[in-house]
Amino acid sequence: MNPALDGVLVADLSGRMSGAWCSRLMADFGADVVAVEPPGGSKIRRLEPLDSEGRSVPAMYALANKRSVVVDPADGEQVALLQTLLERCDIVIEGDGDGALVHFGVDREALLGRAPQQVLVSLTAHGVTGGRAGRAGNDLTAWAYSGWASINGLADREPLKGSGWVASYLAGVAAYGAAVSALVYRDRGGEGQHVDVSETEALLEIFGPNLLSAAYGSGRTRRKSIDISGTFPVEVGDGHLSLTIARGERYRDALIAIGLVEEADDPKWAPLSARETPEFYALVQARLREMDRATLFESLSALRVSAGPVLRPDEVLENEQLGERGFWRQVEEWPDGPPFAGPPFLMEKTPARLRRRPPAPGEHTLDEVASGAEGTTS
């Protein structure tokens, strides 16, 4: 059983969470991924929280399954070795600033000229062309520029970005799809090419329905107040849960499931607009506070009413569904290490493997990776 990306050599210079997640997926599906870091290590290693040994948890998540080399851009010998490594690569991923090829003294076009079979991915905040090329950007600015922050959060509060590095990881998934598409094209008799992916645009792409609704649909979406319409989780006895009780033909069943039997047949609540009022919200919310997430989720699911319990990080780790699906994986070289999430799809012929523990910066030598030695993590 060969991994899908068997034989693919990847160098990731990006130093960004987006690039790191993109190359982490490549490693999971069998590519040999080398993280190229500046002296002192990539800046993602400085992201908190830290574990008891002072290691960055987000960096461990994104760097697992890879090798790491450190390259000093001021050292001509190291840069020459890096050039050798890059020319051997099937995929090279660069970022902005000190994660850009040019920071390491490598010219993008010249590299593509010397390695015409290569897929060279620029994964940056704003793309490599256009009026914002080269500008600083992060998750916060991606949520703001893409339009998503304007609809995230509550009506009477400030717009919200998504939590943590959601935009970066998402851009990493998007870039993975583009890079492997380009690899498919190459393997079918084409050549390599440059792929320009912007973190902001990866998020903007999925703002599309909102964009068109703002233009000619039901109007521009605004931030809302907490209600029962299915947009927000609501309070129940032991936490929060989302349910689509106000909507659709199932509202009667849902009302019966939560014990509001008489209300289910009251014509007062038949119009959708009546079920989107504070009065209906108060009625339902009072009942929901007396019930727990598991009971509600089970009884509503049985009636084909969509519902979902809010799970905290500790609860997700204990979740029966994720557990039975084999979603949590131990690193093969770190059997007593923590469980790692994902990837989120099961491929029957080319399953993912999580082989290497997250490397320390420069744990592997440039000589060994540039010469093509597979190497193992000690």
Partner: protein
């Protein structure tokens, strides 16, 4: 067959609906694959909104306008596809479907596992007609496990994936994102999975089935939070716009209604530049903000000072000034502003798309810029059944007479089936 994009020559049969699967297959179409989207006349895509039309005012009144063809949600998520209608619960419809599957490289579906079992078009069934088929099933919780038949939509998967518990204001309740973010997250991952399988097929000739869980897809985007709990015992909660490491890092109100600035300072240089642009040398000299750790420890005070300064400033002037100094800074754009943004238009990611019934509107089109195989928007979202006759004739040899028979049997065609009656209008 398209002749552009890295997936030119790949044919996809899409039994996808709403947003999760349609976005996955839209990405294939945007990358040059030929995507044939299958719908049923008796139950068109939910994102068309049904036949009753709840879209008064959506587009200017037009003679012959059919509401199900002009819904903005559907038309935003199905670019570059051909649309056919086919009732595969009828033997003649199933026969056509199997033929189309036999000449396709990929079949994608996002029904619940229960529906696919009932339809009898499992991966095993389809490999009888196409042995090297790549098939992806996208569902709420995946095709196995105790929750496999539970319903889920974006608004209920965001909580159960663990995302909602981390989205919100510090100390506040868990929230969901503004619009069903979990669907396109699954769609992006589905596209990634399919091209991975295509790469394997190119090298080995072997197809395979992919089972994607939306719950899992969304959890990977916060997987560092579950790793944090496993390693440290800390249960992360909502942090608003704050960062685990840097301060300031927030969204602040500028002068005017709904004028917001998102800004962060991640380095000492950026922090000093912020103090300079704000003309607040006292901030730079304040011991509470002397370094990264102290700024993070005194974030409430810092946010109050920055908020006080920005309240009197013009949003775009501040963004321009801080950009010059290299800070990560952005205006919070709304939908209208995104559509009009000069940089997005310059890069071609926002471009006008003309739909025969809905008109011409700016849409989010291409997410990737390839140097050798550039991608493009060549078609608006299909109208219901728009390409049925054409596709059936080209690939199945269906004559116009035969097509008319199929239409009469409601196996294909466009618009509501004969027995359809408008829903009673409820006064609200």
């Amino acid at each position: 067959m398209s002749e552009w994009g890295p997936l030119a020559g790949i044919r996809v049969l899409a039994m996808t609906h709403a947003w999760l699967g349609t976005f996955c297959t839209e990405l294939m179409a945007l990358n040059g694959a030929e995507v044939i989207q299958v719908e049923s006349r008796r139950r068109p895509d939910a994102w068309r909104g049904g036949y009753d039309g709840i879209y008064a005012g959506a587009v200017p009144p037009t003679p012959g306008l059919r509401p199900w063809n002009v819904r903005s949600l559907y038309n935003a998520a199905n670019l570059n596809k051909q649309g056919i209608t086919l009732d595969i619960s009828q033997p003649e419809g199933r026969e056509i479907f199997l033929h189309l599957a036999s000449i396709s490289d990929v079949v994608a579906e996002n029904f619940s596992p229960r529906v696919m079992r009932n339809l009898g078009i499992s991966y095993e069934d389809l490999t009888q007609v196409k042995p090297d088929l790549v098939m992806i099933s996208l569902s709420a919780y995946g095709g196995s496990g105790p929750w496999r038949d539970r319903l889920g939509i974006g608004g209920t998967l965001e909580p159960s994936s663990g995302m909602s518990a981390l989205l919100g204001y510090p100390g506040g309740p868990p929230l969901n994102s503004g619009q069903m973010l979990p669907d396109p997250v699954g769609g992006y991952y589905g596209f990634a999975a399919v091209v991975t399988a295509l790469r394997h097929r190119e090298r080995t000739g072997e197809g395979q089935h992919i089972d994607l869980s939306m719950q899992e897809a969304n959890h990977t985007l916060i997987g560092d939070a579950s790793l944090e709990y496993a390693l440290t015992g800390n249960v992360r909660g909502p942090m608003g716009n704050r960062h685990t490491t840097f301060a300031p890092h927030g969204v602040y109100a500028a002068r005017g209604h709904e004028q917001w600035v998102a800004l962060a300072a991640e380095t000492e240089e950026q922090w000093r530049a912020l103090c300079e642009v704000a003309r607040r040398p006292e901030w730079a000299a304040d011991g509470r903000f002397a370094d990264r750790a102290s700024r993070k420890a005194n974030e409430d005070e810092l946010d109050a000072l920055i908020g006080g300064w920005l309240a009197g400033q013009d949003r775009d002037d501040v963004v321009a000034a801080l950009t010059v100094h290299g800070l990560p800074v952005a205006p919070v754009l709304d939908g209208d502003e995104v559509a009009a943004d000069a940089v997005f238009r310059e890069r071609g990611v926002i471009e006008p798309v003309t739909h025969p019934e809905a008109g011409t509107w700016p849409q989010a089109g291409i997410p990737y810029h390839y140097s050798r195989t550039p991608i493009q928007v060549t078609r608006p979202a299909p109208m219901l059944g728009e390409h049925s006759a054409e596709v059936f004739e080209r690939y199945c040899g269906v004559t116009p007479e035969r097509y008319a028979e199929l239409e009469e049997k409601v196996i294909t065609g466009g618009g509501p089936p004969p027995e359809w009656e408008p829903a009673p209008q409820v006064q609200s």
